[in-house]
């Protein structure tokens, strides 16, 4: 099954895989071979692609879509970062910024934005951390 992950900053991944796990808006799901055609929205979380050799490759994403069609999985992500390439210090700084901003006064719109930013930075941290123990 061919898996392709694209984001506005380029094609992040493209290759054969046996499994893809994605954070659907109605719960995390996994796509295997011969999955029925589907379009699903995904939210902030991690995408795990298991390649044919059985190695798991983890990406942090902040939402987008997954399309499954004839054993071709396209992930159209707003952002998709390889877990090993996440800049932990930057993610931490972003988290701290969001936390600090959230303590102040603000209108509902900015607040929603900051909550999302916090969510994203925490997700990146989580994905990066979970990758630390993996022997790769």
């Amino acid at each position: 099954m061919l898996v392709e992950i694209v984001s506005p900053s380029g094609r992040v991944f493209s290759g054969e895989a046996s499994r893809v796990k994605a954070p659907g808006v109605e719960g995390s799901f996994e796509v295997l071979r011969n999955h029925a055609p589907m379009i699903s929205a995904i939210e902030v979380g991690s995408i795990v692609v298991t390649n044919t050799g059985g190695d798991a490759i983890t990406f942090a994403t902040s939402g987008g879509f997954v399309e499954v069609q004839n054993n071709h999985v396209s992930v159209i992500a707003e952002t998709a970062e390889l877990a090993t390439q996440i800049d932990v210090d930057r993610a931490k700084a972003a988290e701290e910024r969001a936390v600090a901003a959230l303590t102040g006064e603000m209108d509902a719109q900015t607040k929603a934005k900051m909550v999302k930013a916090l969510d994203r930075s925490r997700n990146r941290l989580r994905v990066a951390m979970s990758n630390v123990g993996a022997n790769r």
Partner: protein, 307 residues
């Protein structure tokens, strides 16, 4: 005949200008490379997104999303015109402006006469041109290209989208330069909202798709939607529009740098020719002066010897 000093002055001024144009050419070349990389990086995402939109549109009823719906009566139109912030790029800005004006003068003449035409100018040049001529401008997007970011694209498409939904305009078009290659641009007038049933393709896209879309194109019609069609469309459509504008901005930016590079290259070459000419004149004048002096000396000496 110009004096030696005049010629010297001109030569040095042409040299200075040439230095400037050469530097601008180098800068444009460097920026062009970056702009091109940006385009290539974003393209796969663009294609996927428009592919999915096109497929969904074919499968769904056109009334399923307000931005798909074409209005029967078109009284108000928004024209998004993308120019550059700076000049000195050959005919780059003039060409888009001309294109926009020709559209205003033909297809949109009626709308314009009824006062239903609004313009959104991205880039300083277009903004100045059209505000001077009394058009109704929406928003101020001067300086967009100084620091090009996805947020700007988001802002522009939000303006277009919100106005459409509120009924401020019934159609939105985008006029811009598409980056074809370094030396040439395509001028494009692209329908933006409502999203048409058939996919609008620029010459460059057609060219690329003809390579890609040879794979089999059998799609199954009973897709599973999660959460549901409406939910997907609500997220997908605005993102698609944002992305379209972003693509237009990137293309226009690359085209601008390409146009500037070519213009500055031509200017540098011209300066070279001018210099050659001036140097020839200068050397002739110098030689003339020397000859004259020599004649004076020898004839002076002759006169002395004779006397």
């Amino acid at each position: 005949m110009a004096s030696l000093r005049d010629l010297r002055g001109r030569i040095s001024s042409v040299k200075n200008t040439q230095q400037v144009t050469r530097a601008m050419k180098m800068v444009a070349a460097a920026k062009l490379r970056r702009a091109q990389e940006n385009i290539f990086q974003t393209r796969p995402y663009a294609f996927k997104l428009s592919e999915i939109i096109a497929r969904l549109k074919n499968q769904l009823d056109p009334t399923s999303h307000p931005l798909f719906k074409e209005r029967d009566e078109v009284n108000n139109v928004l024209l998004v015109i993308v120019t550059a912030d700076r000049g000195l790029a050959g005919g780059f800005n003039a060409n888009v402006i001309k294109q926009a004006e020709s559209v205003i003068g033909s297809e949109l003449a009626e709308v314009n006469a009824n006062g239903g035409l609004k313009l959104l100018c991205v880039g300083k040049k277009g903004h100045e041109h059209f505000s001077r001529r009394g058009y109704t401008l929406v928003g101020d997007f001067r300086g967009t290209f100084d620091k090009l970011s996805f947020l700007k694209a988001d802002e522009i498409s939000s303006v277009a989208e919100d106005g459409f939904l509120e009924g401020k305009w019934d159609e939105v078009y985008v006029v811009y330069n598409e980056f074809k290659n370094t030396i040439s641009q395509n001028r494009i007038v692209e329908p933006f909202i409502p999203i048409r049933a058939d996919r609008f393709l620029t010459p460059v896209m057609e060219n690329e798709l003809s390579h890609i879309e040879k794979e089999d194109h059998k799609f199954e019609n009973d897709l599973i939607y999660e959460p549901d069609v409406q939910g997907i469309l609500n997220v997908l459509v605005p993102r698609f529009l944002n992305y379209q504008i972003w693509r237009v901005l990137l293309d226009s930016n690359a085209a601008e740098q390409g146009a500037r590079m070519v213009a500055m290259d031509a200017a540098t070459t011209n300066a070279d020719e001018l210099l050659k000419d001036l140097k020839l004149k200068y050397n002739r004048a110098r030689q003339d002066a020397i000859t004259k002096e020599l004649i004076e000396i020898t004839s002076g000496a002759d006169a002395l010897a004779a006397g």
